[in-house]
């Protein structure tokens, strides 16, 4: 009898213990320390333009849709969505019962208010133009939002899944003013607990969160350290678990550590020399010769320290992979390039080209420019690299093609979606088309592609556009950046999106 009671007792104890254990596992545990290189300045999605800010917005706010670590669109606040038959109204049903971290309801009205705030000229959002095609946004009842599009847009999901389209609590924005940029009120699994300008900030679990990615960590502590060497030292001393942007020269040292490794996820950042299609570069043969003159593998290995992959298409990996098309790499063939130049009517030394490069904007940008100058000299072109500061560079590459005095400029592109990237860069006369590229077939396809909502049709249209652009070579195609992030071995489940956003959804600590 006594034995039996004891057994019962033990059993009860065991059940209790295991219940406790189960609960302990679900509870957020551990402090993750992340050292980032750039000071985010603001988390307000209407103004943030840094990957660090994206990472925080992904953890603190929710959008109607979101991107998974491979940049695939998945539902977040949305439960279902559909286009009207004429493609002009996009209707989204949102999950009911959602709340902001301050307890305010996150209903259709709040969603509409958030979008309308971004599109309001008085807000001054840097994304107003990008999202202008959303038109007007209306709340219908508690849980339905209608986008009355200003033009049919089959790529609206891509726009809505970006962290720039995260839902902000407009009421809190009004109350807090600019402070909202530091402590945004959202409905994500975490909230910003502490923010010390320039030093760091801390995310803690949001107790009111209800969704698929509950907080797994007791806190995520960010520290801002711009100097590469100092930031790496934090990982080496164990004072940080994740360090952003490992420079090529530090990769070996970090990999040699006992407790940490460098991870190298792909980046959608596509770095190219964008040509000004005038004068000599109006000639397809010259463009082709330039593309053949460059040893991309050599640059990727020798200068970028492996942090680059030779381009096989204009858009980088992660730019809507379902629509992306890749091609065989362009062969390094200086002799062929010389022949092409001769065919185009240029004797060695007759053609001179200049190109503008930024300083410190992209990994090893200055060194690459010097290498490119060497490659061009090698095929008999007089090459002048114009290495300038970031301000001047942004001014030059933003000029109208007719106003440019140089022939090419180094630019990295990493933009949300196929439509956005290709339309802006290659549609004739569009404001951001700085090469002066004009191809009626491409224009027609881009128009058709923008309105197309059927994925199969989109794939066919954008496949053709990408092929035409790749063959026309309005760019000197170079490489896709590779990310390098130092991660301590105790960090589990960490992921990085191709747009360099750190994803903390499933991170746990050993």
């Amino acid at each position: 009898m006594r034995n039996l009671r004891q057994t019962c007792c033990n059993a009860a104890l065991l059940v209790g213990l295991s219940a406790l254990a189960g609960q302990a596992q679900a509870q957020p545990a551990g402090v993750l320390r992340v050292a980032v290189g750039a000071d985010p300045a603001t988390f307000d999605p209407a103004f943030n333009d840094l990957p660090v800010g994206n990472a925080v917005d992904l953890a603190v706010l929710e959008g109607l849709f979101r991107l998974d670590p491979q940049n695939n669109v998945e539902k977040s606040l949305a439960s279902e969505s559909s286009f009207s038959p004429d493609g002009k109204i996009f209707t989204v049903k949102i999950k009911s019962g959602k709340k902001f971290s301050n307890g305010d309801p996150l209903n259709a009205e709040a969603v509409a208010a958030s979008f309308n705030r971004m599109l309001d000229e008085k807000t001054g959002s840097i994304y107003r133009g990008l999202y202008a095609s959303l038109g007007t946004i209306k709340a219908v009842g508690e849980d339905t939002v209608e986008f009355h599009l200003s033009e049919p847009n089959g790529h609206i999901l891509m726009l809505l899944a970006s962290t720039a389209a995260s839902i902000v609590n407009v009421k809190s924005v009004k109350e807090m003013g600019a402070e909202y940029g530091r402590k945004p009120v959202g409905s994500g699994p975490y909230k910003v607990d502490r923010y010390v300008g320039g030093e760091g900030f801390k995310l803690v679990p949001n107790p009111t969160y209800a969704g698929d990615y509950p907080a797994t960590l007791k806190s995520i502590d960010f520290i801002v350290v711009p100097e590469d060497g100092s930031r790496m030292a934090l990982l080496e001393t164990g004072a940080a678990d994740i360090v952003e942007r490992v420079p090529p020269e530090s990769m070996a040292a970090i990999n040699a550590l006992k407790d940490a490794k460098v991870v190298n996820p792909p980046s959608m950042f596509s770095i190219n020399m964008e040509m000004v299609l005038r004068g000599p570069l109006a000639d397809a043969k010259v463009r082709k010769a330039l593309n053949m003159a460059v040893d991309r593998d050599g640059i990727a290995k020798g200068i970028l320290g492996g942090l680059g992959t030779p381009s096989v298409g204009m858009v980088g990996p992660g730019t809507q992979d379902e629509l992306r098309k890749t091609f065989p790499p362009i062969a390094f063939d200086p002799d062929g390039a010389k022949k092409l130049l001769a065919e185009a009517g240029y004797k060695p030394g007759q053609l001179s080209l200049s190109f503008t490069c930024p300083t410190g904007r992209y990994i090893k940008d200055v060194q690459v420019c010097q290498a490119l100058a060497g490659s061009f000299e090698n095929i008999g072109i007089k090459a002048t690299p114009l290495v300038v500061d970031r301000g001047t560079w942004s001014k030059v590459i933003g000029m109208e093609p007719t106003a440019r005095t140089d022939n090419m400029g180094m630019v990295g592109r990493a933009t949300a979606g196929m439509d956005y990237t290709l339309y802006r860069l290659f549609f004739t006369g569009v404001g951001a088309n700085r090469t002066g590229y004009a191809n009626p077939r491409v224009d027609a396809l881009l128009k058709e592609g923008r309105a197309a909502t059927d994925p199969a049709k989109q794939k066919q249209i954008y496949g053709e556009v990408q092929e035409i652009v790749w063959n026309d070579q309005p760019f000197l195609f170079l490489w896709y950046q590779t990310q390098a992030i130092g991660v301590a071995n105790r960090v589990q489940g960490f992921a990085v999106q191709p747009n360099e956003t750190l994803v903390f959804d499933k991170v746990t600590l050993k």
């Binding site: 050292a35 000071d39 300045a41 603001t42 103004f47 333009d49 000229e121 008085k122 001054g124 840097i126 107003r128 133009g129 990008l130 003013g177 600019a178 402070e179 940029g181 010390v196 300008g197 320039g198 030093e199 760091g200 520290i223 801002v224 350290v225 711009p226 100097e227 060497g229 100092s230 930031r231 030292a233 934090l234 080496e236 001393t237 004072a239 300038v388 500061d389 970031r390 301000g391 001047t392 560079w393 942004s394 001014k395 590459i397 933003g398 630019v411 990295g412 592109r413 933009t415 956005y420 990237t421 802006r424 860069l425 569009v430 404001g431 951001a432």
Partner: protein, 308 residues
């Protein structure tokens, strides 16, 4: 009276600085609206941001706005954070001051001690050693020394944190690194002027009174040597505020220097303009304090004031 006169003469200086800062920042290549909008933005989008930031206003009215911001901080907001610049500066200033004042204080004390040692035993081993260290201290760039110190004290020995500013321990390394420059300058300065005054007659008088050599050096010779040193300290302090740009980046300290670097790279005009204006105000204040200290240390300058 003297203070008032000096202050009133500082006003035109500050006005000129405000004009220069405003105009030079306006000349920085790159359009803030374009940088904010990113490389893929269209002309219309850039134009709309430019309008929002008020960059289309004529130069004179923007300068007026800039001056207005000095008296009404709520109109002077950062392009990036939209918070008043004064809030951004106030948040960062304590860190900059802790590092600069701490570095200067430690540097002055160490440098003066080293200078006294050198002057009392010229040609000795201590003198030789200090001279070598001094040369190293003057020649070594701060960022390089900083990285070496991080590597040795934080990574190798693990005594101090590598970067950041969350605990007092975080300030130890930057303050010590910063202190090398004034320490080196001061040890040279104090040593030279002490050696020079050691042979003076008034020191013999002091010795004749029966004072110990230590008292003679500390209270009679040193006081005279400090007159030059005070002016140097003032210049050094100003230099440190400027140097904070480098130190704060290396050690990851959120100070005004880092704020300025970030602001320049992102063309955040208001932050650049007001931060530089603030530094200019500091320079004027430092010069004033230096002059007052010199007067206190050197009665002759006071007499000249009275005569004039």
């Amino acid at each position: 009276m003297f203070v008032l006169r000096r202050l009133s003469s500082a006003l035109p200086t500050l006005f000129a600085v405000s004009l220069l800062v405003f105009l030079f920042v306006d000349l920085i290549p790159g359009d803030p609206a374009q940088i904010l909008a990113g490389p893929t933005a269209s002309n219309e989008e850039i134009e709309s941001i430019r309008k929002f930031l008020g960059l289309n206003e004529p130069l004179l009215s923007r300068y007026g706005q800039f001056l207005r911001g000095i008296f009404d901080p709520s109109v002077a907001t950062s392009f990036r954070t939209h918070r008043p610049v004064v809030v951004e500066l106030a948040e960062r200033l304590p860190n900059t001051l802790i590092v600069s004042i701490g570095g200067l204080a430690i540097g002055v004390v160490l440098g003066t001690l080293a200078g006294i040692v050198c002057a009392m035993r010229p040609g000795g081993i201590a003198d030789a050693l200090i001279t070598v260290l001094t040369l190293a201290g003057i020649s070594m760039p701060i960022y390089w020394l900083g990285l070496l110190c991080i590597w040795y004290f934080a990574v190798n020995l693990g005594w101090l944190p590598a970067a950041g500013a969350s605990t007092p321990m975080h300030f130890v390394l930057p303050i010590l690194v910063i202190a090398t420059r004034p320490a080196a300058m001061f040890s040279r300065l104090v040593a030279t002027s002490l050696t020079e005054s050691m042979g003076r007659d008034y020191l013999d008088t002091a010795r004749a009174k029966g004072l110990s050599e230590t008292r003679v050096v500390l209270f009679h010779a040193l006081r005279n040597s400090l007159i030059a040193a005070v002016s140097v300290a003032g210049v050094q302090f100003g230099g440190m505020l400027g140097g904070s740009v480098v130190t704060e980046t290396v050690f990851g300290i959120p100070g005004v220097g880092r704020l300025l670097v970030d602001a320049v790279s992102r063309a955040d005009y208001p932050v650049i303009q007001y931060a530089i204006l603030m530094f200019a105000v500091f320079f004027v204040a430092i010069n004033l304090v230096t002059d007052l200290l010199t007067q206190w240390l050197d009665p002759r300058t006071r007499d000249q004031e009275r005569l004039a």
